[in-house]
Each structure stands twice: as C-alpha cells, then as structure tokens.
Amino acid sequence: MNCKIVSEFIAPYINLELSDETHAQINTHLEKCPNCKIEYQAQLGICRLLSEKLERLEAHQGLKEQIMKKTIGSNKRSLCFSEK
C-alpha cells in the first residue's frame, strides 16, 4: 500500500470502520512510515479533542417543557430529564 491510499484510509482506521484485513495493513504501514504516522496522530488528536474536550450544554428547562407540551401533551418531569 502506498502513502496516498493509506492517507485515504486513516479516517476510517481511526473510526474502526475498516475490515480486519485492511485495518491490519494500515497498521503495518503506520509502523514504518513517519509521514503517515503524523497524519494519523493529527487526525486522532482532532477526533479526541472534539469527543473529549467540548463542553456540552443542557437544553433550557423552558424549551424542554415547551416541546413536551406540544408533543406528548405533558410537562411532567420524567425520563427526558435524565438523558444517559
């Protein structure tokens, strides 16, 4: 596998979206190619940054109540307020 092809597979490699065989091939390439390794680490860094570092806000109570009222017709406190 050459670097151009490997670079196309780095995103799905990170997301575990490749077949076992292709995953292993990319793995082998990354171990011996510093340039592709940088690309891999940079993409991984961005991916982790977005999944781990971004603050998540809670929707306003008023908004939740409004939505509940206009759909299920109730604004009782219930499961909606305990999203997993």
Binding site: S7, E8, F9, I10, A11, P12, N15, E17, N35, I38, E39, Q41, A42, Q43, L44, G45, I46, C47, R48, L49, L50, S51, E52, K53, L54, E55, R56, L57, E58, A59, H60, L63, K64, Q66, I67, M68, K70, T71, I72, G73, S78, L79, C80, E83, K84
Partner: protein, 193 residues
C-alpha cells in the same frame, strides 16, 4: 404500530425526547445562535412527533432525529446561519506540511499535545469557521460518534464521501487550531529550568 395515542406518546418520550440535550448541542453547533438553536430543536421535535410512525423501531432514533434536524436546518436556517469566514478548502496541505516548522507541537505524541493545548471555546471558534458540510460531519462523527453508515444516511451521501470529507474536515480544524496556537503563543514548553 401503536394501539393508541397513549402508546405512541410513551414510545416518543422514551425513544425521542430523551435526546433533547444532544439535539440542542448539535443545533447550537450548526447555528451558533441560541435562539435559532432552540427553534431548530423545537421544529425538529414537532416534525418527529408528526411523522413518528415513519421511524423504524430497532434503528437509532438519535440518528433519525439528526436527519430531521439536518433537513430542517438546510430548509430554514442555513441562509440565516453565521457564514463562515473564507477558508480555501481545495488547497489543504497534508498534515506533515502544516506541522513542519511548528515547534509548538510535540510530534512524538502529537495527539496528546493537540488534546492538551485547546479549550472548549477555541474549539468552538474553529468549528464555527468551517462550512456547513465540514462542521456537520465533525458533529456527527467525532462529537456524536455515529457510524459511517448512519452518517451516510443522515447526510444522504455515499460512505466514500463521508471518509474523504471527514479527513478534510479534521485537517481544516487542525489548520485553524494551529493558527490559534500561533496567535495565542502556545508554544510547547521545553522542560528547562
């Protein structure tokens, strides 16, 4: 499907309404405007309730809701939403080129050094500069963790497109963040006393 309206409401509550916070966060990142985000989430839920019989039980309701959110956003809010600053998407150099001469990244553990260098606000600022397609793919893949198949369905495009768009989107984020690093003077501290 449901025996009566009460059953439908019960299913809607446990399948759909539990994702309100997630949808709100997604809407905020699409609009970067609190009022628009609220409207977008409300409209998404009103539509979802009206068409809830089209939801296939057993599939991801969160993905189904994001698809409605996306369509609503495109139809109604996209023109109004904050226009990103111009970023030349076609000439994104390989990571190696961007990293070259950047002494503020430790290339031995580049992913950790990226992770430790930025705060939520800076990440949001960089995200907000991306065009809708790139922002959306990062929201769906890296923030919400949807599978490529789910993303392809939400975005109505082939999986091949998802792959290449995602890799370009990450690259653009990296480039924008590197720029911040430079402006803010985030240089890697050498351990010299």
């Amino acid at each position: 499907m449901w025996k009566n309206i009460d059953e439908k409401k019960e299913a809607f509550e446990s399948e759909a309404l539990v994702h309100m916070d997630t949808l709100y966060n997604g809407a905020l990142k699409l609009t970067y405007n609190e009022e628009d985000a609220k409207d977008l989430v409300q409209e998404t839920y009103f539509k979802a309730f009206r068409f809830f019989d089209q939801f296939e039980p057993g599939t991801s309701c969160k993905a189904w809701l994001f698809k409605i959110l996306k369509n609503t956003f495109i139809n109604k809010y996209r023109k109004k939403a904050k226009q990103p600053e111009h970023v030349d998407y076609n000439t994104v150099e390989p990571f190696v080129e961007i990293i070259k001469d950047k002494q503020y990244f430790d290339s031995d553990s580049l992913d950790d050094s990226i992770l430790n260098n930025y705060l939520s606000d800076e990440i949001n600022e960089a995200l907000s500069k991306l065009s809708y397609e790139f922002r959306m793919i990062l929201i769906l893949s890296d923030i919400e963790g949807f599978s490529y198949k789910e993303i392809a369905d939400i975005m109505d495009c082939p999986i091949g497109t998802i792959r290449s768009r995602l890799s370009r989107a990450r690259k653009l984020m990296f480039k924008l963040l590197s720029k911040y690093a430079k402006q803010e003077g985030y240089y890697r501290e050498e351990d010299e006393e």
